[in-house]
């Protein structure tokens, strides 16, 4: 009998045990998953949590799997139960079911956070084995697992470059960029590739929307513009003239060349204060699919997708970053419309001048989803300054 046989037997035994555990914990797990808004279900969940957290270590993969269809509050209850069980088991000199955890980790359809936790549990008791797994995560749906693998690629490319192997380093940084979803890692790989004379289309990598129709400015004195319903919110007619804050205004083309897709209203309109403006674009999807709109904006804003208001926020000049706001959407095949309203307040301090946003379309991992009519490639702004299309 070889090692493979023992491994198969132990996994089979673990599977049977897991089924038994699942049956035992099922009522408690169902109770726990009912937690909801405004504290709903908390009292019952506390009792269920006591039951779950007293389970043995064999139950851990079951608890991780239970995260798959749990809301984010229930996921946290489950995570705390796993932590409690692990601490108790290890303090008592027991073992974690690492084979079952490894099998769970391999199931990429499981909840990304549950899989990351499985990896960290393996790393806690078998750090060398866990380390060997890292390179396999370069295309992983878990952003955290992927980040570790990309870091390996970057580190290796750095060493290759230090050894003056430019071709090898170029290949390495390109592989890192292709895999990277983390902003800092993307910046690092892109910067190294550009230093090596390579073209990098960062907007394409991120999925930023670069071409817009814009109209404005409309009034936002005393912040009235955030709630005011100006004509574009009722219907977008690109051909007609509208009443703006200081006279008639028309829709015009706006194409950003910025690596991070910044749509800067100050450029076409001037440095206005107490104003609002709209940006409209169409996204031609190759097929129907779930996606995310990810917005960065430090002005007051609202966003509509296919005519439906998705969200709005009236916070001004507290900061902006990539993927500051994430909204799940359902793309339909063909034309999808996106309308963004960005409001500028009347503060006059230097740090309140910016009147801009960035928006991208991607999947839940941050992988760009590109419109089917997007130009094939764009020269990097660092090496070419001509506008696309």
């Amino acid at each position: 009998m070889n090692r493979q046989f023992f491994l198969s037997m132990s996994l089979a035994f673990a599977a049977v045990s897991a089924q038994a555990v699942e049956v035992d914990l099922k009522p408690a797990l169902m109770t726990l998953k009912k937690v909801g808004p405004e504290g709903r279900g908390n009292a019952e969940a506390a009792g269920a949590w006591q039951t779950i957290s007293k389970a043995d270590a064999q139950s851990i993969p079951v608890l991780l799997a239970a995260m798959d269809d749990a809301n984010d509050l229930a996921v946290n209850w489950l995570r705390a139960a796993v932590d409690t069980i692990v601490d108790r088991e290890l303090k008592a000199g027991g073992k974690l079911p690492t084979d079952a955890l490894r099998a769970f980790l391999g199931g990429t359809r499981h909840h990304p956070r549950a899989r990351r936790l499985a990896f960290e549990l393996i790393a806690r008791v078998e750090p060398v084995e866990a380390d060997k797994l890292v390179p396999t995560f370069a295309d992983d749906p878990s952003v955290e697992l992927r980040r570790d693998a990309v870091q390996r690629l970057l580190d290796t490319a750095d060493k290759t470059l230090a050894a003056e192997d430019k071709a090898g380093a170029t290949k390495g940084f390109r592989a890192a960029l292709n895999a990277a979803r983390d902003e800092a890692q993307i910046k690092k790989a892109a910067a190294e590739l550009r230093k090596l004379g390579q073209e990098v289309d960062l907007p394409r990598h991120f999925g930023f929307l670069m071409e817009w129709k814009i109209v404005g400015p409309f009034d936002n004195a005393k912040l009235v513009g955030f709630d005011a319903v100006y004509p574009p919110e009722k219907s977008v007619n690109l051909a007609i003239e509208l009443d703006g804050k200081s006279g008639k205004v028309r829709w015009s083309d706006y194409a950003t060349k910025d690596d991070y897709g910044t749509v800067d209203f100050n450029k076409p309109f001037g440095d206005h204060k107490g104003v609002t403006a709209y940006a409209y674009t169409e996204f031609n999807a190759t097929g129907a699919r779930p996606a995310e709109l990810r917005l960065g904006c430090k002005n007051g804003w609202k966003i509509w997708f296919n005519g439906q208001l998705i969200f709005g926020r009236d916070e001004y000049h507290r900061g902006s970053r990539l993927d500051q706001y994430r909204f799940p959407i359902e793309l339909k095949a063909g034309k999808n419309t996106i309308l963004v309203k960005a409001c500028q307040n009347e503060e006059v301090k230097d740090w309140t001048k910016e009147w801009q946003f960035q928006l991208r379309v991607c999947d839940a991992t941050g992988t760009a989803i590109l419109a089917k009519d997007r130009p094939a490639a764009r020269a990097s702004s660092a090496t070419k300054t001509t506008a696309q299309k």
Partner: protein, 402 residues
């Protein structure tokens, strides 16, 4: 023999008072004053009883219940991992740790972090809130009692610079200020289940101040909680959220206020001394001093004197009777954390990790000692059982104590 001498010197150089826990931001009454114990006044390298590494980042203060120290931290590229950690006060051993994933927004200014608010405890339960507006209630052994995602329930309740208000527990109600430019509110949560008892709309403006409990100022002798904002002050009944008195002359949004001897010292137009009276909707204004304007650190009152720190690191001392400045002492700033007091000594930690002990009983105030811990520190110190606890992102120190 040398060790014995050191211990003797340490004992000689301490302030002795009865012992008590440190259950919330700025201690037992939320005013920074330790009602207990002793603390080292001559800080040296030997004052470090223990230090222990921390995960991620944090500027929340430690709280202490009996022989256990509780602390929060946040980690990850997105600051979306929320840690609650329990240490042995005796030797710093980690007793347990729980992690949660943020359900609300985690973006903050780079200077701050997800673990900015200080937890509080009623001696049996631990209540932790994070910048993401996730609220975690655990028992002292780390068992989960309830969870809330206030950013999840009220999706525009966030501040892109980060939230920092620390909650208070009064009776069976946890009071949290979730105030920001957009969906701004204060909320009373049932301590047992986390369910809403009440929710009040609050001024739509960023606010990092913490609620302050006033005992013995209400007609039915129950405590009131004062909510501070840029608009002023609102004293509410914690069980119902009903406003009892208010003040509308504006107040700071970073330093909190303090309360001593029946007088509320508001961080408003410098410092404004207000005396609330039972049944009166407006507190009586006793004095106002623009000379005492606090920067980031909250004011503190000890021995009939009020102390404030300005942006230049100058400690001002004034008479609580009329607000007249008595003396100023230049310390090494800048300060983000607030001072705490044991007896006549103030303990202040600057942003570079310099712990400074000031003897306020000296005629012009006197720097009694200083200890450079050489790490960035933005948190307010905590005091319990003769020890001072200070933290950076990376380290928790215990100074003095048993």
């Amino acid at each position: 023999m040398k060790k014995l001498l050191s211990i003797s010197l340490l004992v000689a150089a301490t302030v002795a008072l009865p012992a008590a826990d440190w259950l919330q931001f700025r201690g037992p009454n939320g005013n920074g004053i330790a009602s207990e114990t002793s603390a080292p006044t001559k800080l040296t390298e030997q004052s470090v009883a223990w230090k222990i590494a921390l995960p991620g980042r944090g500027l929340s203060s430690a709280i202490v219940v009996d022989d256990r120290v509780f602390l929060t931290a946040s980690s990850g590229v997105e600051q979306d991992r929320l840690h609650v950690i329990c240490f042995s006060a005796k030797d710093g051993t980690k007793l347990w740790e729980r992690q949660f994933w943020a359900t609300g927004r985690t973006m903050t200014h780079q200077k701050t972090a997800g673990a900015a608010p200080t937890p509080c405890s009623d001696g049996h339960r631990l209540f932790c809130i994070f910048s993401s507006n996730d609220v975690v209630c655990l028992d002292l052994d780390g068992n989960v009692l309830w969870l809330r995602g206030l950013g999840r329930d009220y999706p525009n309740a966030s501040n892109s610079l980060g939230m920092a208000s620390s909650p208070v527990i009064v009776g069976d109600t946890l009071v949290c200020q979730v105030e920001n430019d957009s969906e701004s509110f204060a909320i009373g949560l049932a301590a047992t289940t986390g369910a809403n008892r009440w929710k009040l709309d609050r001024p739509k403006m960023a606010n990092w101040t913490s609620p302050l409990v006033l005992s013995g100022t209400n007609t039915n002798a129950s405590a009131l909680v004062v909510l501070q904002s840029g608009k002023g002050l609102s004293a509410i009944e914690p069980r119902t959220g009903k406003e009892v008195w208010y003040y509308t002359d504006g107040a700071a949004t970073i330093p909190s206020s303090t309360f001593a001897g029946g007088v509320f010292y508001a961080a408003s137009k410098g410092i404004t001394a207000l005396r609330p009276s039972a049944g009166e909707p407006h507190p009586e204004q006793l004095w106002q001093s623009g000379q005492l304007s606090p920067a980031t650190a909250s004011p503190i009152v000890i021995g009939g004197k009020i102390f404030t720190l300005n942006a230049a690191g100058i400690l001002s001392c004034a008479d609580v009777k009329d607000g007249k400045r008595l003396w100023q002492l230049r310390l090494t700033g800048p300060f983000s954390g607030s001072p705490v007091a044991v007896g006549a000594h103030l303990y202040l930690v600057n942003e570079k990790g310099l712990v400074q002990a000031v003897n306020t009983a000296a005629p012009e105030g006197e720097l009694a000692s200083a200890l450079d811990l050489k790490e960035t520190m933005l948190a307010t110190p905590s005091v319990a059982n003769g020890a001072i606890y200070v933290r950076s992102d990376k380290t928790l120190w215990k100074l003095g104590g048993k």
